[in-house]
């Protein structure tokens, strides 16, 4: 009996709809190759991930469930994206229940696995000649207009990102926390420069009127931070907090930031 079905299938092979299966295998193979070779090209990985999660499973599922055309390209695209999203959500739940670890590999396996299963169903159910894909009739001029429009939309996003970066608030962070080594009585004093320009600071550490330590000419580039460790005398009686004051080189008489801790 199986031989009979096999013979039938072999006879039908040239007329079957291979597209969902080939698409799944193609996207899956390229993604796995990238993974195995450790190539991390973000610009390539993201489109592949989008294909793998948001296009291929739904396309295969749509082809399997609706072997005959169910409408125009709108229906087909709705099924493709809608079923892909549905598959990813339900697939995540499946991974949680059966494997419990949602990671890159499990998501890739589920997406490719689901797409393969539906592709095989589609292969058997859908005769190739009925799966005629709609074609986009775009002239060269229309393609150019579409390209220009895409470039404009992209430039809008770039302008927005630029605006977000340029109009940022500027400030400096000063902090004091016990040093990571819990056995000592040291303090970690840190300065972070978010001024948007290279800035020179000085730091003074006081207990009341007593100067415990001083650090001058601390120059930090934008985004840079510096942490210094200050050992404090554990045997000394502290009746007031230890205060750390930060001064900017361009305004040395004004306390710019101030933090304090009460020694244990």
């Amino acid at each position: 009996m199986f031989a009979h079905y096999g013979e039938n299938l072999m006879n039908k092979l040239p007329t079957l709809n291979w597209f969902p299966l080939l698409l799944t295998l193609g996207v899956g193979t390229v993604y796995m190759l990238l993974e195995q070779t450790g190539i991390t090209v973000v610009s390539l990985r993201l489109p592949l991930a989008v294909l793998l999660l948001l296009v291929v499973p739904g396309y295969a599922a749509g082809a399997a469930l609706f072997p005959r055309p169910i409408g125009g390209w709108a229906e087909r695209w709705l099924l493709t994206i809608g079923l892909s999203i549905t598959t990813a959500i339900l697939g995540s739940l499946g991974i949680f229940w059966y494997a419990e670890t949602l990671n890159e590999r499990s998501w890739a396996v589920v997406s490719i696995g689901v797409a393969l299963v539906f592709s095989f169903i589609a292969l058997v159910r859908t005769p190739a000649k009925q799966q005629r894909l709609s074609t986009f009739q775009l002239s060269g001029r229309q393609l150019s207009v579409a390209g220009v429009s895409g470039m404009l939309a992209l430039s809008a996003i770039l302008i927005a990102i630029w605006g977000e970066q340029v109009y940022q608030t500027t400030f400096t962070q000063l902090w004091v926390v016990p040093a990571a080594d819990q056995q000592s009585s040291a303090l970690s004093i840190g300065v972070g420069n978010f001024e948007g320009r290279t800035t020179t600071y000085s730091i003074s550490v006081q207990h009341g009127q007593d100067m415990l330590d001083q650090l001058s000419a601390l120059t930090l580039a934008p985004g840079e931070e510096q942490v210094v460790t200050l050992d404090i005398d554990a045997t000394r009686p502290y009746t007031q907090p230890i205060t750390v004051m930060l001064y900017r080189a361009d305004e040395q008489d004004t306390v710019y930031r101030s933090v304090h801790v009460w020694p244990e």
């Binding site: 989008v50 469930l65 125009g72 930031r257 101030s258």
Partner: protein, 657 residues
């Protein structure tokens, strides 16, 4: 009005010609470029930013809307135009804050996704949004794109929501097309896009933004499933069941709305028939009074010509789908998301309090078009808002009238939509209720507006009847849509929310800036995760998300006196001790103005929505004068205090990581 039976399956695929007028595409893109320039100008607080903002939105909207209103456009053109417009409106939110979350809920879902990526599992508690952990649809999908695509959470979310927007537009069009022609369907989808939530709320990184498109997708499947004669039932039913399941585990309100609509639809079929039996004698030629008979006769015509078989099929289909969706919801809540009961409970309590106040005569209604800070929208925006509301009401009533005048009306689904549209109108008064009313209106609006959009489309279609050519003929209809679009954005969003700009006190995206974000990153790096932190609304979001901290909320502890009282007395110290608060994050800018949202910490704080002066600076700096309280961080406006010495035993070690 051209209502028709569900479309039959098309036997052949037409070739695609997206645009006859291809120049609309660069025009829409140009609108986006101008919007980006307007947003950048707004950051620099220039005066031309706001006019340019509205101008760019209209440049995006008007040509595409006019294109859709004109007759003679092919189905492909209509779908292509709707997709461009839908994606264009989605990019409005992206251009506002392109690289990071901006709205309140976005931070909560960012945290849920981050937790999923960190622990590689679902249902990990999120103290900032406990119920969110039990509806992990968008978190799972975003995490999957982030991991497979090698990008950060927000970039992945932007991609996911873009895909969701495509689903929403396509599903809406195809759903409407199930019971009307392609022109009405495209105009109905266009009308849906002018709802107050479409541009910002439904584009934010939140579970509703994914669940709503899936719910419409499910509804489209349900409409196809009940189409008569049934075709490819197994395929369609699998699509419907899968999408129902995805909605049920993605968002509570979306699943409730879907189940409610399906139930309404199922009830409408037999209800029509039984009402018909009662009403038939009233509309006969001998019936008196005559005016009542004349009034009821068109309504009777609606179902008297209904063939029995499609009605039965529709009744069976909608009933079993409604039952299935309710079973799914009940099962999910019972076995997984019981916390939604605790989440929804306070809403009913607050609504009950409002009802009580109304009965007692002590209810103080909200001032429309007024922010919590007392700032009132400009006159023209208020006028546009009122005009939009009136046009919506008129459009819905027009649609209802047209439905009952149509003698060939046969579809109970449309009657259910009519009921939904009336429900939307009934929800309008909620906007007068401070906070809870506005929130409920915002949350239910995107669902109910599906029904409203259809009624509006019927009215506009009637308005445009007989039109053959000439863009000037569509100008009145276009003007109506423009007023509704502008007015609804004015109703739904404060001016400061629509555009970026200089810092404002507790004002959504306008309060999210680098100093607060950097402080949150600092706490994670130097204090470790899951520290118990008390702070204001904005820093709570930042600390809970980027800081990965356990931010103490009002539900957990009444923390307000610690920040509001001029002295840190025994009672305030007891609050800190009882709540085991470890750190206080104090933003000195809170004393620089009245909060745009009407409150600094939460909506039940003293003087919420009724504040005439900012919080005094002294109450925020009082912690500097408390013995044993360390000021461990200072970035100018934001200071962090270590308050553990107030309750920690003297021999306990300082537990820095």
């Amino acid at each position: 009005v051209n209502l028709q039976q569900p479309r039959k399956m098309q036997s052949q695929l037409p070739a695609v010609s997206l645009f006859r007028s291809f120049w609309l595409l660069p025009l829409a893109s140009l609108g986006l470029v101008l919007l980006a320039v307007a947003n950048t100008g707004a950051r620099a607080a220039v005066s031309w930013a706001e006019p340019l903002f509205w101008g760019s939105l209209l440049l995006l909207f008007v040509p595409l809307a006019a294109h859709l209103l004109l007759p003679g456009r092919s189905r492909n053109e209509r779908v292509g135009t709707l997709l461009v417009l839908g994606l264009g409106f989605y990019l409005v939110r992206v251009l506002h804050h392109p690289t990071a979350p901006m709205f309140h809920d976005e931070f909560l879902h960012w945290r849920s996704t981050d937790t999923l990526l960190q622990f590689h599992t679902l249902f990990v508690p999120n103290p900032a949004l406990p119920v969110g952990a039990h509806y992990p649809g968008i978190h799972a999908l975003t995490a999957a794109v982030a991991q497979l695509g090698g990008v950060d959470i927000y970039t992945a979310a932007t991609v996911v929501l873009g895909a969701a927007r495509l689903v929403l537009v396509l599903a809406l069009f195809l759903f409407f097309e199930q019971f009307s022609d392609e022109q009405v369907a495209s105009v109905a989808t266009l009308c849906y896009m002018v709802n107050p939530s479409f541009v910002f709320w439904s584009a934010q990184f939140g579970y509703e933004s994914l669940a709503l498109p899936l719910a419409i997708f499910a509804l489209y499947g349900a409409a196809r499933y009940t189409a008569f004669p049934p075709t490819n039932t197994i395929g369609v039913s699998l699509v419907v069941l899968a999408s129902f399941a995805a909605v049920s585990i993605s968002h509570h309100l979306s699943s409730f709305a879907l189940a409610a609509f399906l139930s309404l639809w199922a009830l409408t079929v037999p209800l029509c028939r039984s009402i018909g039996k009662v009403l038939r004698p009233l509309v006969s030629e001998q019936a008196r009074p005559r005016w009542l008979a004349r009034l009821l006769r068109p309504i009777m015509n609606a179902w008297s010509t209904t063939p029995a078989t499609p009605q039965h099929w529709q009744f069976l289909g909608s009933t079993w789908l409604a039952v299935f969706s309710i079973v799914l919801i009940v099962a999910w809540i019972t076995f997984v998301a019981f916390t939604v009961v605790n989440y929804a409970g306070p809403y009913f309590v607050r609504l009950g309090n409002v009802m009580h106040d109304i009965v007692q005569g002590s209810f103080v209604n909200r001032q429309l078009f007024s922010a919590g800070s007392g700032q009132v929208a400009p006159l023209w925006e208020r006028l546009a808002g009122y005009a939009a509301a009136l046009l919506t009401i008129a459009g819905v009533f027009g649609g209802l009238l047209l439905l009952f005048r149509a003698r060939h009306y046969t579809n109970a689904l449309v009657l259910a939509l009519a009921a939904g549209a009336i429900g939307y109108l009934a929800s309008h008064p909620m906007r007068f209720i401070p906070e809870i009313g506005v929130e409920l209106a915002a949350r239910t609006g995107p669902f109910l507006f599906v029904a409203v959009a259809y009624m509006l489309a019927l009215t506009l279609h009637w308005f445009l009847r007989g039109l053959t050519a000439g863009i000037w003929r569509v100008l009145p209809a276009l003007a109506v849509l423009v007023v509704m679009f502008v007015g609804n954005i004015s109703i739904g969003w404060y001016p400061s929310e629509r555009m970026p700009g200089p810092y404002q006190v507790v004002a959504q995206g306008r309060s999210i800036e680098r100093q607060g974000e950097a402080a949150a990153h600092w706490t994670q790096e130097w204090l470790g995760r899951q520290q118990r932190i008390a702070t204001d609304r904005i820093n709570r979001l930042l600390q809970a998300s980027y800081g990965r901290q356990h931010t103490v909320t009002n539900n957990e502890l009444w923390i307000i006196p610690v920040f509001f009282e001029p002295q840190l007395g025994l009672e305030e110290r007891a609050i800190i001790e009882d709540g085991r608060i470890e750190y206080l994050v104090v933003d000195r800018r809170l004393s620089s103005g009245i909060p745009m949202f009407g409150f600094y910490f939460n909506e039940v704080e003293p003087q919420a929505f009724n504040r005439s002066e900012p919080l005094p600076a002294e109450v925020l700096t009082k912690f500097d004068r408390i013995d044993q309280v360390d000021r461990i961080f200072d970035s100018g406006e934001i200071r962090i205090y270590d308050v553990r010495p107030l309750w920690r035993e003297p021999d306990e070690q300082t537990a820095y990581p």
